[in-house]
Protein backbone atom coordinates (compact mmCIF):
# COMPACT_ATOMS: atom_id res chain seq x y z
CA UNK A 1 0.00 0.00 0.00
CA UNK A 2 1.73 3.18 -1.12
CA UNK A 3 2.42 6.10 1.20
CA UNK A 4 3.67 8.26 -1.63
CA UNK A 5 3.68 7.75 -5.37
CA UNK A 6 6.61 5.92 -6.88
CA UNK A 7 8.21 8.21 -9.46
CA UNK A 8 9.54 6.73 -12.70
CA UNK A 9 11.97 8.56 -14.98
CA UNK A 10 11.30 11.75 -13.01
CA UNK A 11 8.08 12.02 -14.96
CA UNK A 12 5.52 9.40 -14.00
CA UNK A 13 4.06 9.22 -10.47
CA UNK A 14 2.55 5.79 -9.90
CA UNK A 15 0.03 4.77 -7.24
CA UNK A 16 -0.71 1.08 -7.19
CA UNK A 17 -2.97 -0.56 -4.63
CA UNK A 18 -3.29 -3.80 -6.50
CA UNK A 19 -6.87 -3.06 -7.58
CA UNK A 20 -5.89 -0.95 -10.55
CA UNK A 21 -3.24 1.67 -10.94
CA UNK A 22 -3.17 5.43 -11.39
CA UNK A 23 -0.31 7.25 -13.04
CA UNK A 24 0.28 11.01 -13.16
CA UNK A 25 2.34 12.23 -16.09
CA UNK A 26 4.23 15.37 -15.02
CA UNK A 27 5.07 16.27 -18.60
CA UNK A 28 1.59 16.11 -20.04
CA UNK A 29 -0.24 16.95 -16.78
CA UNK A 30 -2.51 13.99 -17.31
CA UNK A 31 -3.69 11.25 -15.00
CA UNK A 32 -4.24 7.71 -16.24
CA UNK A 33 -6.29 4.95 -14.70
CA UNK A 34 -5.04 1.52 -15.67
CA UNK A 35 -7.43 -1.34 -15.20
CA UNK A 36 -6.15 -4.35 -13.33
CA UNK A 37 -5.07 -6.42 -16.38
CA UNK A 38 -3.10 -3.47 -17.74
CA UNK A 39 -1.67 -2.75 -14.31
CA UNK A 40 -0.55 -6.38 -14.08
CA UNK A 41 1.21 -5.99 -17.42
CA UNK A 42 2.86 -2.78 -16.21
CA UNK A 43 4.12 -4.47 -13.04
CA UNK A 44 5.58 -7.34 -15.04
CA UNK A 45 7.27 -5.06 -17.52
CA UNK A 46 8.56 -2.77 -14.79
CA UNK A 47 10.26 -5.81 -13.30
CA UNK A 48 11.84 -6.54 -16.68
CA UNK A 49 12.89 -2.92 -17.06
CA UNK A 50 14.54 -2.92 -13.65
CA UNK A 51 16.62 -5.91 -14.76
CA UNK A 52 17.75 -4.25 -17.94
CA UNK A 53 18.00 -0.88 -16.16
CA UNK A 54 17.31 0.94 -19.39
CA UNK A 55 15.44 4.27 -19.24
CA UNK A 56 14.72 4.03 -22.93
CA UNK A 57 13.19 0.60 -22.45
CA UNK A 58 11.08 1.90 -19.56
CA UNK A 59 9.93 4.92 -21.56
CA UNK A 60 9.03 2.70 -24.47
CA UNK A 61 6.88 0.44 -22.35
CA UNK A 62 5.08 3.39 -20.73
CA UNK A 63 4.48 4.91 -24.16
CA UNK A 64 3.09 1.56 -25.16
CA UNK A 65 0.83 1.10 -22.14
CA UNK A 66 -0.58 4.56 -21.68
CA UNK A 67 -3.44 5.47 -24.01
CA UNK A 68 -2.35 6.81 -27.36
CA UNK A 69 -4.94 9.55 -27.12
CA UNK A 70 -2.98 11.02 -24.25
CA UNK A 71 0.05 11.62 -26.44
CA UNK A 72 -2.21 13.09 -29.08
CA UNK A 73 -3.73 15.54 -26.60
CA UNK A 74 -0.39 17.21 -25.97
Amino acid sequence: MPDHPQTLLGRYDVLDWGDGCVIYDRSLFLTHLLDEPTALMLRARLAEASETDSPAHLQALLDDLLPASVTDSS
Binding site: L15, Y24, D25, F29, S73
Partner: protein
Protein backbone atom coordinates in the same frame (compact mmCIF):
# COMPACT_ATOMS: atom_id res chain seq x y z
CA UNK B 1 -17.88 36.73 20.69
CA UNK B 2 -20.38 35.17 18.27
CA UNK B 3 -22.56 37.08 15.87
CA UNK B 4 -25.65 35.79 17.65
CA UNK B 5 -24.47 37.29 20.94
CA UNK B 6 -24.96 40.78 19.58
CA UNK B 7 -28.32 42.43 20.11
CA UNK B 8 -30.26 42.08 16.81
CA UNK B 9 -30.33 45.81 16.16
CA UNK B 10 -26.60 46.07 16.81
CA UNK B 11 -25.89 43.07 14.60
CA UNK B 12 -27.91 44.54 11.74
CA UNK B 13 -26.06 47.82 12.06
CA UNK B 14 -22.72 45.99 12.13
CA UNK B 15 -23.67 44.16 8.94
CA UNK B 16 -24.47 47.46 7.25
CA UNK B 17 -21.10 48.84 8.26
CA UNK B 18 -19.16 45.63 7.72
CA UNK B 19 -18.62 42.64 9.96
CA UNK B 20 -15.73 40.17 10.02
CA UNK B 21 -16.85 36.58 10.46
CA UNK B 22 -14.52 33.66 11.07
CA UNK B 23 -15.51 30.59 9.10
CA UNK B 24 -13.09 27.70 9.30
CA UNK B 25 -9.60 28.93 8.39
CA UNK B 26 -10.92 32.09 6.72
CA UNK B 27 -12.09 35.50 7.82
CA UNK B 28 -14.86 36.94 5.65
CA UNK B 29 -15.43 40.68 5.72
CA UNK B 30 -19.12 40.99 4.89
CA UNK B 31 -21.12 44.10 4.31
CA UNK B 32 -24.72 44.45 3.19
CA UNK B 33 -27.43 47.03 3.28
CA UNK B 34 -30.12 44.50 2.36
CA UNK B 35 -32.13 44.01 5.54
CA UNK B 36 -33.68 40.67 4.53
CA UNK B 37 -30.24 39.25 3.79
CA UNK B 38 -28.90 40.46 7.11
CA UNK B 39 -31.70 38.69 8.94
CA UNK B 40 -30.76 35.43 7.21
CA UNK B 41 -27.08 35.95 7.99
CA UNK B 42 -28.02 36.43 11.65
CA UNK B 43 -29.95 33.17 11.62
CA UNK B 44 -27.44 31.06 9.70
CA UNK B 45 -24.19 32.47 11.11
CA UNK B 46 -25.34 33.11 14.70
CA UNK B 47 -22.72 30.74 16.14
CA UNK B 48 -19.84 32.05 14.06
CA UNK B 49 -17.13 33.96 15.81
CA UNK B 50 -16.57 37.64 15.13
CA UNK B 51 -12.97 38.31 14.20
CA UNK B 52 -11.10 41.26 15.64
CA UNK B 53 -11.78 44.51 13.82
CA UNK B 54 -8.28 45.30 12.61
CA UNK B 55 -7.11 41.88 11.43
CA UNK B 56 -6.61 40.40 7.97
CA UNK B 57 -9.64 39.39 5.94
CA UNK B 58 -9.34 36.65 3.34
CA UNK B 59 -12.43 37.71 1.41
CA UNK B 60 -14.08 41.13 1.19
CA UNK B 61 -17.68 40.67 0.13
CA UNK B 62 -20.47 43.15 -0.30
CA UNK B 63 -24.04 42.23 -1.20
CA UNK B 64 -25.83 45.30 -2.37
CA UNK B 65 -28.64 46.43 -4.68
CA UNK B 66 -27.55 47.86 -8.00
CA UNK B 67 -27.67 51.58 -8.58
CA UNK B 68 -30.47 53.04 -10.66
CA UNK B 69 -33.81 51.62 -11.62
CA UNK B 70 -33.05 48.05 -10.52
CA UNK B 71 -32.92 49.22 -6.95
CA UNK B 72 -36.68 49.74 -7.17
CA UNK B 73 -38.08 47.92 -10.21
CA UNK B 74 -37.67 44.13 -10.01
CA UNK B 75 -34.96 44.74 -7.43
CA UNK B 76 -31.75 42.80 -7.61
CA UNK B 77 -28.77 41.90 -5.45
CA UNK B 78 -25.14 42.16 -6.58
CA UNK B 79 -22.24 40.10 -5.29
CA UNK B 80 -19.17 42.31 -5.07
CA UNK B 81 -15.85 40.65 -4.27
CA UNK B 82 -12.78 42.80 -3.71
CA UNK B 83 -14.63 45.64 -5.37
CA UNK B 84 -15.45 43.73 -8.55
CA UNK B 85 -18.56 41.96 -9.77
CA UNK B 86 -17.92 38.44 -11.04
CA UNK B 87 -21.53 37.35 -11.51
CA UNK B 88 -24.68 38.77 -12.96
CA UNK B 89 -27.03 40.21 -10.33
CA UNK B 90 -29.84 37.99 -9.08
CA UNK B 91 -33.33 38.86 -7.88
CA UNK B 92 -33.18 40.52 -4.49
CA UNK B 93 -34.84 37.62 -2.71
CA UNK B 94 -31.98 35.36 -3.90
CA UNK B 95 -29.49 37.43 -1.91
CA UNK B 96 -28.63 34.79 0.69
CA UNK B 97 -28.12 31.94 -1.81
CA UNK B 98 -26.05 34.42 -3.84
CA UNK B 99 -23.87 35.06 -0.80
CA UNK B 100 -23.37 31.35 -0.19
CA UNK B 101 -22.67 30.48 -3.84
CA UNK B 102 -20.37 33.46 -4.18
CA UNK B 103 -18.44 32.52 -1.06
CA UNK B 104 -18.04 28.98 -2.40
CA UNK B 105 -16.58 30.52 -5.53
CA UNK B 106 -14.23 32.74 -3.52
CA UNK B 107 -12.83 29.77 -1.62
CA UNK B 108 -12.58 27.38 -4.56
CA UNK B 109 -10.88 29.96 -6.77
CA UNK B 110 -8.43 31.35 -4.21
CA UNK B 111 -7.64 29.04 -1.29
CA UNK B 112 -4.97 27.03 -3.06
CA UNK B 113 -3.11 26.27 0.14
CA UNK B 114 -5.59 23.37 0.15
CA UNK B 115 -6.62 20.74 -2.33
CA UNK B 116 -10.30 21.64 -2.70
CA UNK B 117 -12.93 19.06 -3.50
CA UNK B 118 -16.61 19.42 -4.24
CA UNK B 119 -17.60 17.23 -1.33
CA UNK B 120 -19.28 17.21 2.04
CA UNK B 121 -17.16 16.26 5.05
CA UNK B 122 -18.26 15.07 8.47
CA UNK B 123 -16.38 13.56 11.37
CA UNK B 124 -17.02 11.04 14.08
CA UNK B 125 -14.56 9.49 16.50
CA UNK B 126 -11.73 11.56 15.04
CA UNK B 127 -12.18 10.17 11.53
CA UNK B 128 -13.65 12.10 8.63
CA UNK B 129 -15.96 10.84 5.95
CA UNK B 130 -15.62 12.61 2.61
CA UNK B 131 -18.74 12.58 0.43
CA UNK B 132 -17.85 13.68 -3.09
CA UNK B 133 -20.86 13.65 -5.33
CA UNK B 134 -22.25 15.25 -8.44
CA UNK B 135 -25.27 17.49 -8.26
CA UNK B 136 -28.52 15.75 -7.54
CA UNK B 137 -26.95 12.81 -5.72
CA UNK B 138 -28.51 13.59 -2.35
CA UNK B 139 -25.19 14.62 -0.81
CA UNK B 140 -26.45 17.70 1.03
CA UNK B 141 -29.54 15.90 2.29
CA UNK B 142 -27.42 13.08 3.66
CA UNK B 143 -24.95 15.60 5.05
CA UNK B 144 -27.70 17.51 6.90
CA UNK B 145 -29.11 14.30 8.30
CA UNK B 146 -25.72 13.08 9.56
CA UNK B 147 -24.91 16.51 11.00
CA UNK B 148 -28.03 16.25 13.17
CA UNK B 149 -27.39 12.67 14.26
CA UNK B 150 -24.05 12.80 16.01
CA UNK B 151 -21.66 13.46 13.14
CA UNK B 152 -19.66 16.71 13.30
CA UNK B 153 -20.16 18.85 10.21
CA UNK B 154 -16.96 20.10 8.61
CA UNK B 155 -18.43 21.22 5.32
CA UNK B 156 -21.39 20.68 3.03
CA UNK B 157 -19.84 21.82 -0.24
CA UNK B 158 -16.07 22.17 -0.10
CA UNK B 159 -13.62 19.70 1.37
CA UNK B 160 -10.34 21.39 2.30
CA UNK B 161 -7.48 18.89 2.22
CA UNK B 162 -4.17 20.07 3.69
CA UNK B 163 -1.37 19.54 1.19
CA UNK B 164 1.27 18.97 3.84
CA UNK B 165 -0.62 17.49 6.79
CA UNK B 166 -3.15 15.42 4.84
CA UNK B 167 -5.90 16.53 7.24
CA UNK B 168 -9.40 17.68 6.40
CA UNK B 169 -10.00 21.23 7.61
CA UNK B 170 -13.45 22.48 8.54
CA UNK B 171 -15.33 25.12 6.61
CA UNK B 172 -18.44 24.94 8.72
CA UNK B 173 -21.15 26.91 6.96
CA UNK B 174 -24.85 26.51 6.21
CA UNK B 175 -26.01 23.40 4.36
CA UNK B 176 -27.80 24.08 1.10
CA UNK B 177 -31.03 22.12 0.82
CA UNK B 178 -33.02 21.96 -2.37
CA UNK B 179 -36.66 21.37 -3.24
CA UNK B 180 -38.24 18.35 -1.51
CA UNK B 181 -35.17 17.90 0.68
CA UNK B 182 -36.15 21.01 2.62
CA UNK B 183 -39.30 19.41 3.96
CA UNK B 184 -37.56 16.11 4.40
CA UNK B 185 -34.91 17.56 6.72
CA UNK B 186 -37.50 19.65 8.57
CA UNK B 187 -39.31 16.41 9.36
CA UNK B 188 -36.14 14.44 10.04
CA UNK B 189 -34.50 17.00 12.32
CA UNK B 190 -37.17 19.29 13.80
CA UNK B 191 -34.52 21.16 15.81
CA UNK B 192 -32.58 22.16 12.70
CA UNK B 193 -32.54 25.91 12.02
CA UNK B 194 -33.70 26.05 8.42
CA UNK B 195 -34.31 29.35 6.70
CA UNK B 196 -37.33 30.19 4.60
CA UNK B 197 -37.17 28.54 1.18
CA UNK B 198 -36.10 30.83 -1.62
CA UNK B 199 -38.14 29.88 -4.70
CA UNK B 200 -37.21 30.00 -8.35
CA UNK B 201 -33.45 29.94 -8.11
CA UNK B 202 -31.47 28.20 -10.83
CA UNK B 203 -31.60 25.15 -8.56
CA UNK B 204 -35.29 25.40 -7.78
CA UNK B 205 -36.32 26.19 -4.22
CA UNK B 206 -33.34 26.54 -1.90
CA UNK B 207 -33.23 26.79 1.87
CA UNK B 208 -30.18 26.81 4.09
CA UNK B 209 -29.78 24.79 7.25
CA UNK B 210 -27.58 26.39 9.91
CA UNK B 211 -24.65 24.26 11.05
CA UNK B 212 -25.06 22.85 14.56
CA UNK B 213 -23.46 25.10 17.18
CA UNK B 214 -21.04 22.43 18.40
CA UNK B 215 -19.71 21.97 14.87
CA UNK B 216 -19.13 25.70 14.45
CA UNK B 217 -17.28 25.87 17.77
CA UNK B 218 -15.02 23.01 16.67
CA UNK B 219 -14.29 24.64 13.35
CA UNK B 220 -10.58 25.04 14.06
CA UNK B 221 -10.15 21.29 14.65
CA UNK B 222 -9.25 19.24 11.57
CA UNK B 223 -9.92 15.54 11.16
CA UNK B 224 -7.88 12.73 9.70
CA UNK B 225 -9.34 10.84 6.76
CA UNK B 226 -11.39 7.77 7.52
CA UNK B 227 -13.71 7.05 4.65
CA UNK B 228 -14.50 8.18 1.14
CA UNK B 229 -18.12 7.48 0.30
CA UNK B 230 -19.75 8.33 -3.01
CA UNK B 231 -23.45 8.67 -2.19
CA UNK B 232 -26.28 8.25 -4.62
CA UNK B 233 -29.95 8.56 -3.87
CA UNK B 234 -31.95 5.90 -5.70
CA UNK B 235 -35.71 5.64 -5.14
CA UNK B 236 -36.67 2.61 -3.07
CA UNK B 237 -33.10 1.29 -2.91
CA UNK B 238 -31.91 -0.34 0.30
CA UNK B 239 -29.09 1.49 2.03
CA UNK B 240 -25.99 -0.34 0.87
CA UNK B 241 -22.24 0.24 0.76
CA UNK B 242 -20.18 -1.42 -1.91
CA UNK B 243 -16.38 -1.32 -1.93
CA UNK B 244 -14.80 1.13 -4.35
CA UNK B 245 -11.34 0.23 -5.70
CA UNK B 246 -8.80 2.76 -4.48
CA UNK B 247 -7.46 3.48 -7.94
CA UNK B 248 -10.99 4.31 -9.06
CA UNK B 249 -11.48 6.43 -5.94
CA UNK B 250 -8.49 8.58 -6.92
CA UNK B 251 -10.06 9.26 -10.30
CA UNK B 252 -13.40 10.14 -8.69
CA UNK B 253 -11.66 12.62 -6.39
CA UNK B 254 -9.79 14.18 -9.31
CA UNK B 255 -13.11 14.72 -11.06
CA UNK B 256 -14.42 16.45 -7.91
CA UNK B 257 -11.31 18.58 -7.43
CA UNK B 258 -11.44 22.30 -8.19
CA UNK B 259 -7.71 22.96 -8.22
CA UNK B 260 -6.06 19.69 -9.27
CA UNK B 261 -4.59 21.40 -12.32
CA UNK B 262 -2.92 23.93 -10.05
CA UNK B 263 -1.36 21.44 -7.65
CA UNK B 264 -0.39 18.91 -10.34
CA UNK B 265 1.83 16.08 -9.03
CA UNK B 266 1.57 17.41 -5.46
CA UNK B 267 -2.20 17.30 -5.74
CA UNK B 268 -1.96 13.77 -7.13
CA UNK B 269 0.16 12.74 -4.16
CA UNK B 270 -2.21 14.44 -1.69
CA UNK B 271 -5.24 12.71 -3.16
CA UNK B 272 -3.31 9.44 -3.14
CA UNK B 273 -2.60 9.87 0.58
CA UNK B 274 -6.26 10.72 1.22
CA UNK B 275 -7.35 7.54 -0.51
CA UNK B 276 -4.58 5.57 1.14
CA UNK B 277 -5.88 6.52 4.60
CA UNK B 278 -9.53 5.87 3.79
CA UNK B 279 -11.89 3.01 3.27
CA UNK B 280 -13.60 3.71 -0.06
CA UNK B 281 -17.19 2.89 -0.94
CA UNK B 282 -20.08 3.67 -3.15
CA UNK B 283 -23.31 4.17 -1.24
CA UNK B 284 -26.84 3.87 -2.48
CA UNK B 285 -29.78 4.84 -0.32
CA UNK B 286 -33.36 6.02 -0.25
CA UNK B 287 -34.31 6.32 3.44
CA UNK B 288 -32.34 8.61 5.71
CA UNK B 289 -32.86 6.50 8.83
CA UNK B 290 -31.34 3.51 7.05
CA UNK B 291 -28.48 5.63 5.75
CA UNK B 292 -27.68 6.89 9.23
CA UNK B 293 -27.63 3.33 10.55
CA UNK B 294 -25.10 2.31 7.90
CA UNK B 295 -22.87 5.28 8.67
CA UNK B 296 -23.07 4.63 12.39
CA UNK B 297 -21.94 1.08 11.77
CA UNK B 298 -19.03 2.40 9.74
CA UNK B 299 -18.00 4.66 12.61
CA UNK B 300 -18.23 1.86 15.13
CA UNK B 301 -16.04 -0.49 13.08
CA UNK B 302 -12.45 -0.95 14.20
CA UNK B 303 -10.29 1.38 12.08
CA UNK B 304 -7.44 -1.13 12.22
CA UNK B 305 -9.47 -3.81 10.52
CA UNK B 306 -8.60 -4.56 6.89
CA UNK B 307 -9.68 -1.72 4.66
CA UNK B 308 -11.84 -3.81 2.37
CA UNK B 309 -15.25 -3.61 4.01
CA UNK B 310 -17.86 -6.12 2.95
CA UNK B 311 -21.04 -4.82 1.46
CA UNK B 312 -23.42 -3.67 4.17
CA UNK B 313 -27.06 -3.43 3.41
CA UNK B 314 -30.21 -2.59 5.25
CA UNK B 315 -33.71 -3.32 4.07
CA UNK B 316 -35.56 -0.36 2.71
CA UNK B 317 -39.08 0.69 3.53
CA UNK B 318 -40.83 3.18 1.38
CA UNK B 319 -41.82 5.94 3.77
CA UNK B 320 -40.05 9.26 4.12
CA UNK B 321 -37.85 8.63 1.12
CA UNK B 322 -36.02 11.35 -0.72
CA UNK B 323 -37.48 13.11 -3.72
CA UNK B 324 -36.92 11.39 -7.03
CA UNK B 325 -35.28 14.40 -8.58
CA UNK B 326 -32.99 16.90 -6.98
CA UNK B 327 -31.60 20.01 -8.49
CA UNK B 328 -28.02 21.01 -9.07
CA UNK B 329 -25.91 21.99 -6.11
CA UNK B 330 -23.30 24.55 -7.17
CA UNK B 331 -23.79 27.25 -9.72
CA UNK B 332 -20.11 28.18 -9.66
CA UNK B 333 -17.65 26.52 -11.98
CA UNK B 334 -17.58 22.78 -11.51
CA UNK B 335 -14.65 20.48 -12.12
CA UNK B 336 -15.07 19.05 -15.57
CA UNK B 337 -15.24 15.31 -15.92
CA UNK B 338 -12.56 13.87 -18.13
CA UNK B 339 -12.64 10.84 -20.40
CA UNK B 340 -13.09 7.55 -18.63
CA UNK B 341 -9.49 6.54 -18.22
CA UNK B 342 -7.57 9.80 -18.36
CA UNK B 343 -7.95 13.14 -16.74
CA UNK B 344 -5.82 16.22 -16.58
CA UNK B 345 -5.54 19.91 -17.16
CA UNK B 346 -4.77 21.66 -20.39
CA UNK B 347 -1.53 20.77 -22.07
CA UNK B 348 1.31 23.16 -21.20
Amino acid sequence: MHLGQLAPAVALQRLRQGVRLRTGPFVVALRSDIAALSQQVLQQYAEHELAEDDGFSDFHIRITPPAGLRRWWRPQARFVFDGAEHFNPLPLHHAFPLLEWGLNWCVSMHAHQYVILHAAVLERGGRAVVLPAPSGSGKSTLCAALAHRGWRLLSDELALLGLEDGLLWPLTRPISLKNQSIRLIRDFAPDARIGEPVPDTIKGAVAHCAPPAAAVRAAQTPARPGWIVLPRYTPDAPAALTPLPKAQAVMELIDACFNYSIHRHQGFAALGRLVDGSDCHRFEYSRLEDAIAVFDRLAEADPDEPSVTPTMALPSSHSASLPTSQSASLPVSQPVSQPASTTGDAAP
